[in-house]
């Protein structure tokens, strides 16, 4: 019961946040709506017993990505964040169609074959009891750390490399050329 | 080059020392210099020694007052020193004094102010009125609790509120009052002496004149009585 209520609330918030994020003219409002979406998603992760991922979601998305977005808006748009342009592009109709069609195609089988869904080999309707016991009793964080440092250590290192490269690349791209800075300081 | 932060630690030592010592500064002289407000209910306004908490000294000045020489419950206007000469009104830098002269029924100037208002919101406690007053009639009061609720009438201090006795003056500014009284007595004495001298001279001159007149009268009966009475100023 409580899980269902929570799920519906959280998914409503997530959908609402995502919709607002893509539709608001004001970019700052858009960012805050996006952060709402991230938060709701993190709640859903908790419901799925992936609490470590939920914490990381909050830390990375809300704490870092949101701030980055805000900074970019402050640096590029006017500080009010108003996006005064026309909302859509020329091909907005096709875009909308595509945006509706893709999820429809994804959802359709689930809706149509409701009866046969239970027969699908992967889907376990009742959740995995083994996991439920495991996650609440054992330390998933510890297990996760073990797996990361043993089985997935190479991808982890590659990821670290990627992050470093991204950091350097971002700084290199965003760094203002010296000429500009000095040119600004001496107008006329 | 010292480690980063050593200067800050030094400063923290200073502040900690002040923090601790403020609790041991019983006489509130070194590390706790705040003077708490001397509440009005604690002591009457004119009892300065009782208000030792204040920094009010025997020279403090805050707002002018008019002096009278009356004692006790005598009518202060009977002995008011002010003669409504209006010098202070003219000299007051912020022009906060307003004086009107008093005339008796015959329209004769009786050398007293009928109105003497000082606007407390304009006065800047500069003491120029005291210095220019030739009659020692206006001096500075050290009363500091002058706030009131009335924006219009309350800020305009009237003559009767300004009038204070010389005794009060002696209480709040003893040295200055004594000095002023001594000087007034001296000047009075000098003046009297001068007056006496002048009177004597006048008398003498009159006698001389009389003598001369008598002499002249013997020779010539016509005389000009005004001419020889010029007295030294």
């Amino acid at each position: 019961m409580i899980e269902q209520v929570a799920f519906y609330i959280l998914s409503a918030v997530a959908v609402l946040g995502a919709l607002l994020a893509v539709s608001r003219r004001n970019l700052v409002h858009g960012v805050f709506a996006l952060l709402l979406f991230f938060a709701a998603l993190s709640g859903l992760f908790v419901m799925l017993l992936a609490d470590y991922v939920a914490a990381v979601q909050v830390l990375v998305y809300i704490g870092a990505v949101g701030i980055l977005l805000l900074f970019t808006i402050m640096l590029t748009e006017h500080v009010t964040g108003d996006d005064l342009r026309r909302l859509g592009v020329r091909g907005w109709f096709w875009g909308l169609l595509l945006a509706v069609a893709v999820p429809a195609v994804l959802i359709l089988p689930a809706v149509l074959n409701e009866k046969s869904a239970k027969a699908a080999p992967i889907v376990v309707a009742q959740g995995n009891p083994a996991l439920a016991n495991n996650a609440t009793q054992a330390n998933t964080v510890k297990a996760l750390g073990k797996v990361l440092m043993e089985k997935y250590v190479v991808p982890l290192e590659v990821l670290a490399l990627l992050l470093t490269a991204a950091l350097i690349g971002a700084v290199a791209v965003a760094h203002a050329p010296e000429k500009d800075a000095s040119g600004k300081d001496t107008p006329a | 080059m010292k480690l980063l932060g050593s200067g800050i630690f030094k400063g923290m030592a200073v502040t900690l020392e002040n923090f601790v010592r403020s609790y041991f500064d019983r006489d509130r002289k070194h590390h706790l210099f705040t003077k708490e407000y001397a509440w009005k209910s604690d002591a009457p306004a004119d009892q300065l020694p009782a208000r030792a908490d204040t920094t009010v000294t025997t020279r403090s000045r805050n707002f002018p007052m008019l002096l009278h020489d009356g004692k006790g419950s005598e009518d202060p206007m009977a002995s008011i020193r002010c003669v409504a000469c209006q010098i202070c009104e003219r000299e007051c830098p912020p022009q906060c004094i307003f004086i009107e002269k008093e005339y008796d029924a015959n329209g004769k100037f009786v050398k007293r102010p009928v109105i003497f208002d000082i606007d407390i919101s304009v006065c800047m406690s500069c003491q120029i009125c005291v210095e220019v007053c030739p009659f020692d009639a206006i001096v500075m009061n050290s009363e500091f609790e002058l706030s009131n609720n009335d924006r219009f009438n309350g800020l305009l201090v009237r003559r009767d509120a300004l009038l204070k006795s010389n005794d009060y003056y002696h209480r709040i500014h003893p040295e200055e009052a004594q000095e002023r009284d001594d000087r007034m007595a001296r000047e009075k004495a000098e003046k009297e002496a001068k007056q006496a001298a002048a009177d004597a001279a006048k008398k003498k001159a009159a006698e001389l004149a009389a003598e001369k007149a008598a002499e002249l009268a013997a020779a010539k009966p016509k005389v000009d009585p005004a001419a020889p009475t010029a007295t030294p100023q």
């Binding site: - | 200067g7 920094t55 403090s60």
Partner: protein, 384 residues
């Protein structure tokens, strides 16, 4: 950016919306702003947090001081001089008395001369301690140095009140001397204060002079070169912080300053730290002067034979003193009446303020506040 630029500029202003200006944030700091030392406004254009342009706007506290003084007798404007730079009323009094005494040749008695020096140097202590406090307040120290400074200032103000009757608006100097002699025991109390003051300065130096944050915030910030300072007419500690040896107490030796031995501290870099340190060091020199004056002060009258009605013959004079903020001058033209024909003040604060933009451009907005604090302005004197 140099001081020569405004001369060549046309009398009107071209409004240009070029792209470099578009991204700038215009902030109006003041007149109600915690750090502008009164009602003063800085129109700042910021690129991020860097000051690109800064326009000082003042006049909010204009009280028509000069014109008022031309409408009243010479003596009556004495209390108004207190209100010019309300931190150092005694120094202002002296400058005005000095000018007026040139109009009418009034000898100042010996004791009054000494007391004037004592008062002026105490004023310097008051000004410099509170300046350092306010400066640190601008730097963001939550009032602690300010309140330590005020602790000492209170003691000096107590002395002022005992002598003159008022704590800040002293109105103590008169043409030809002082209004009254100091009360009995005052000199001893002053000696005690002067004796205890170095302890406070030590404490202050321990608290401030090695603090890394203060060093980092003030060094190499708002650098004023000696040449620029001279060009702009800067005087006082600010000029000396730029390394120019110019102290009216040495140059003019007005009063009896030639009888005392003291040194003039000079800065080298001309940045905010130098301006702050020069004031700290000047306090020590002031204490030296005070010690000598308190040692040598003779007995005697404090008021010369000034005429009761001050009515000078037509003349033109300029009297100046080294006020704690710089050269404070009074220029008087007498026309033979009891009122001055022209009365003009040379306020050090205003003239020191003229270099504000040159000092601030290129620094961050936080530095602009610090630079303003290091200039040491009092709006009463700037606006008059």
């Amino acid at each position: 950016m140099s001081t020569a630029a405004p001369i060549a500029a046309p009398p009107y202003k071209l409004v240009r919306h070029d792209e470099a200006e578009a991204g700038l944030l215009e902030v109006s700091m003041g007149p109600h702003h915690p750090s502008t030392h009164g009602v003063f406004r800085m129109d700042v254009k910021l690129d991020g947090e860097t000051v690109v342009r800064l326009k000082p706007v003042f006049g909010y506290l204009h009280r028509n001081h000069e014109k008022l003084a031309e409408g009243m007798s010479y003596l009556s404007s004495m209390p108004f001089t207190d209100r010019l730079d309300y931190f150092n009323s005694m120094a202002n009094n002296w400058a005005y008395a000095l000018a007026a005494e040139k109009l009418v040749d009034v000898p100042v008695p010996e004791r009054a001369q000494y007391l004037r020096v004592i008062m002026a140097e105490l004023t310097r202590l008051v000004n410099h301690t509170s300046l350092v406090g306010f400066f640190l307040n601008d730097l963001g120290a939550l009032g602690t140095p300010l309140l330590y400074a005020f602790r000492e200032r209170e003691r000096i103000l107590d002395l002022f009140e005992q002598a003159s009757g008022a704590r800040m608006m002293c109105n103590y100097f008169r043409f030809g001397g002082l209004r009254c002699d100091v009360p009995a025991g005052w000199l001893d109390r002053t000696r005690a204060l002067v004796g205890g003051f170095p302890k406070f300065l030590d404490e202050f130096e321990k608290l401030l002079c090695e603090n890394e944050i203060i060093l980092a915030r003030t060094q190499h910030v708002g650098v004023l070169s000696g040449a620029q300072a001279i060009n702009a007419g800067i005087t006082g500690p600010m000029l000396r912080a730029s390394g120019v040896n110019y102290d009216l107490r040495k140059v003019d030796a007005y009063g009896i300053y030639d009888r005392f031995s003291f040194r003039v501290p000079l800065g080298a870099a001309g940045d905010c730290y130098d301006r702050f340190m020069i004031r700290m060091l000047e306090m020590r020199e002031s204490l030296k002067i005070l010690e000598q004056a308190l040692r040598d002060i003779p007995e005697g009258p404090v008021m010369g034979n000034a005429p009761r009605v001050f009515k000078p013959a037509a003349a033109e004079v300029y009297g100046r003193v080294e006020s704690p903020k710089g050269e404070l001058g009074f220029y008087l033209i007498a026309d033979g009446t009891t009122k001055p024909y022209r009365y003009r003040v040379r306020p050090p604060s205003l003239i020191n303020l003229t270099v504000l933009e040159d000092l601030c451009v290129g620094h961050s907005i936080a530095d602009a506040v610090v630079i303003l604090g290091s200039i040491d302005i009092v709006l009463g004197e700037v606006d008059r």
